[in-house]
């Protein structure tokens, strides 16, 4: 390290690694991880989201989980929460759909109507 710019570079990288502890995320992806969600493959879906976001180097999106949502027939269920926009709930999500959600919804901001269970 020789200059202030060097320090700032290290800082930016390090801040990315600590982003989980900050709450400045643009979008929150909440995956229903109740018993039925897990039985229907919610863990695979979550891993896909994590990998997909990492591959695309998206670091302002938070992946987290919640319990049973009561929509057992639509599991795995995923909420996309973005401030100032209606929360979109996708149902029957699998790895393929998760990849599409990342590319179309998260990156391009386009809701994939055919997967939507609820928007409020």
């Amino acid at each position: 390290m020789k200059t202030l710019a060097d320090l700032k570079k290290i800082r930016e990288q390090a801040q990315k690694n600590m982003s989980l502890r900050e709450s400045n995320n643009r979008i929150k992806i909440v995956i229903g991880m109740g018993t039925s969600g897990i039985a229907m493959g919610a863990r695979e879906v979550m891993k896909t989201f994590l990998n997909e976001l990492a591959n695309r180097k998206i670091d302002d999106v938070l992946v987290t989980q919640t319990g049973e949502k009561g929509l057992s027939s639509m599991e795995p269920v995923v909420d996309i929460i973005e401030e100032g926009k209606p929360t979109i709930t996708y149902g029957l999500v699998n790895s393929e759909k998760a990849k599409r959600i990342v590319s179309e919804h998260i990156v391009n901001g386009k809701v994939i109507e055919e997967f939507v269970v609820e928007a409020k």
Partner: protein
């Protein structure tokens, strides 16, 4: 790929939580997350002290910011399976508010009302990673200082901030720096005084363990300002984790080019190392500390010359406390105005306190100067432990004084506490309930300073021992008329005549308890009675015959068989033989046995006869 992670588990690994079992929790988390195949999704980070030590082991889990307390190894399975895998935080391990469960750390009452400057990152970052400190704006203050400011400007900023020494003395930090800077003798040294020795104090240890880079950055800023080229962390060997963490921080800073020759391409060269102390209380005194660093016996020298002019190896030496250094990076980053907006007219900023004793929330807290003792003890400290009544509070450890309920409105700043006969000290706050005997408390602290006196000057070496003997006699029922006056005369002479701060402050606990609890001393001396039944010779144990059911349990449990009786005539204690072990009180099924203040008449008669002989 750290982005793959979805959870940061911050496990408090301050010494308190480690002794409560935090390391075992970590092993269990690792074991179970491997079993469930989620170990790649979770960061497990050991942090420094989070503060609420009585709730330990504690942990905070991000992104939610969920705060768990009193976690046991058996709870880990539920945390991993419910929270980590299914995302259902475990409510029963959260802080229980009046009507609701408090899940998030920032909403726990203990953390509200606190203002964290020195402790800003403590319990939040991984203390073994320089990157995490840098991510939280670490080293920015240092780099901008050395690249954009002259040493004079840095000193002026610290003077303007009003920062005063946090080790207890309260000397204005900027002024001290000015003295060292003005001396043109080279090389100059900076010493971080981490010889924290007061019973019940752990502020410095927690800072060094929890955020070592902050202390190191503080030292670098100080070194740049005064023109020093070499630094020493003087840490006692009882703090092994603090030593490891600061050594690691020094190593990382060296690798990053923050320590060494021509730092950031400037003329400023600096390196630091750790010197371990053997744990003598007197080595917290700066001249004794410097002697110890040089490999000599840890004894103080008369001042002047002050270390600022002639310290280590007779060179100008700046000695600053850990907490003082920890404040510097934030002051330089946010400015003197921001810092001086907190606190009182003469005491600016915040102060870290180690809250201990008979209160609900013990632990490490940081509050703005000027809040009242009442707020500190009853709001942040949560008030007295269940069913206890406040009696007094000892501020500043064995060098400080004891205050009473009447002083609770006193605001916490250097001058107000001094006016009341206590002192800021390094920040140990020991709260005592009404079961404590103040004579005994004074004796405890004096025993500590008698032990720790280095023996160089007579008032401290001999005088304290004499005071101790008088106190010892008082607590054993051998107090004489005039003892209180003798204690005051001795104490005041020792304060005036001792060579260093140890002796000058050691009589404080005795003098302040005499001032505030004189009636207790008088009861011990004149009535041969310890009102709180603490001093063994000055109370006795009696069986209430109206309550006694004659079950004989006490008699059978008595190790000296001094309890006799029968079912019909009930039981009595032969007072002369009783050793006051308290077994009978514990086993009595109907609570008929109790401690009664004062000597029993039998023992008193014998004592009087001996005196007449």
């Amino acid at each position: 790929m750290s982005q793959n992670k979805r959870m940061d588990v911050l496990l408090c690994c301050g010494s308190g939580c480690i002794s409560a079992g935090a390391k075992k929790l970590k092993e269990k988390i690792i074991e179970l997350s491997k079993k469930h195949n989620i170990e790649n999704e979770i960061n497990i980070i050991e942090t420094g002290c989070m503060g609420p030590c009585n709730l330990g082991p504690v942990m905070t889990i991000y992104p939610e910011g969920v705060f768990y307390q009193k976690v046991k190894v058996e709870d880990i399975q539920e945390i991993v399976e419910e929270h980590f895998i299914k995302g259902r935080p475990v409510k029963r391990l959260m802080s229980q508010g009046d009507n609701k469960v408090i899940s998030e750390k920032k909403e726990v009452p203990f953390f509200q009302n606190q203002v964290k400057v020195a402790l800003e990152n403590c319990g939040y970052l991984n203390p073994e990673k320089i990157e995490e400190y840098i991510a939280l704006d670490g080293y920015e203050a240092l780099v901008t200082s050395i690249l954009e400011k002259t040493p004079e400007e840095v000193i002026q900023e610290i003077k303007d901030s009003g920062l005063r020494g946090r080790g207890g003395g309260g000397f204005p930090t900027g002024v001290k720096w000015g003295f060292v800077q003005a001396n043109k003798n080279k090389p100059k040294y900076v010493v971080c005084n981490a010889d924290e020795g007061d019973p019940g104090a752990f502020m410095d240890r927690s800072l060094l363990e929890g955020d070592p880079h902050r202390v190191l950055e503080g030292m670098l800023i100080a070194a740049y300002a005064v023109g020093a080229s070499k630094g020493f962390f003087y840490i006692r060997a009882e703090y092994p984790l603090a030593v490891v963490r600061i050594k690691n921080a020094i190593e990382q800073a060296r690798e990053s080019g923050l320590l060494g020759e021509n730092i950031f391409g400037t003329d400023f060269s600096f390196d630091a190392e750790v010197r371990m102390g053997a744990g003598a209380f007197v080595c917290g005194e700066e001249t004794a500390l410097i002697n110890s660093i040089m490999g000599m016996r840890g004894q103080p020298n008369p001042k002047p010359p002050y270390p600022a002019n002639s310290g280590a190896w007779q060179k100008p030496t700046l000695v600053n406390n850990v907490e003082t250094l920890a404040n510097l990076p934030t002051i330089m980053r946010k400015g003197a105005k921001w810092f001086s907006s907190m606190g009182t007219e003469t005491s600016k900023g915040t102060k870290v306190f180690a809250l201990t004793g008979d209160i609900k929330n013990t632990g490490l807290v940081e509050v703005p100067m000027g809040i009242s003792l009442n707020d500190l003890i009853f709001n942040i400290g949560g008030g007295m432990a269940e069913g206890k009544k406040f009696k007094g509070v000892q501020l500043g450890g064995p060098s400080g004084g004891c205050l009473t309920a009447e002083d609770l409105q006193t605001q916490i700043d250097y001058e107000s506490l001094k006016a009341k006969g206590a002192m800021m000290g390094s920040g140990g706050v020991i709260v005592m309930d009404d079961t404590k005997c103040m004579v005994n408390v004074a004796k405890f602290f004096l025993e500590f300073t008698v032990d720790e006196s280095c023996g160089k000057c007579v008032p401290c070496r001999v005088g304290l021992k004499q005071m101790y003997n008088i106190l010892d006699n008082i607590t054993k029922g051998k107090g004489k008329k005039g003892d209180i006056e003798r204690l005051i005369t001795l104490g005041e002479s020792i304060q005036k005549l001792s060579l260093c701060g140890l002796g000058q402050s050691a009589p404080n606990p005795v003098l302040s308890t005499i001032k505030n609890f004189r009636e207790e001393y008088e009861a011990h001396i004149n009535d041969k009675m310890c009102p709180t039944c603490v001093c063994t010779d000055l109370y006795h144990i009696e069986i209430d015959k109206d309550k006694c059911i004659g079950c004989s349990l006490c008699s059978r449990k008595c190790p000296v068989t001094c309890i006799t009786g029968s079912r019909t005539e009930k039981y009595t204690i032969a007072q002369v033989d009783c050793i006051k072990c308290g077994n009978c009180i514990e086993v009595c099924p109907v609570s008929a046995i109790d401690k009664i203040p004062g000597m029993s008449s039998e023992v008193l008669n014998i004592a009087n006869n001996i005196e007449e002989d």
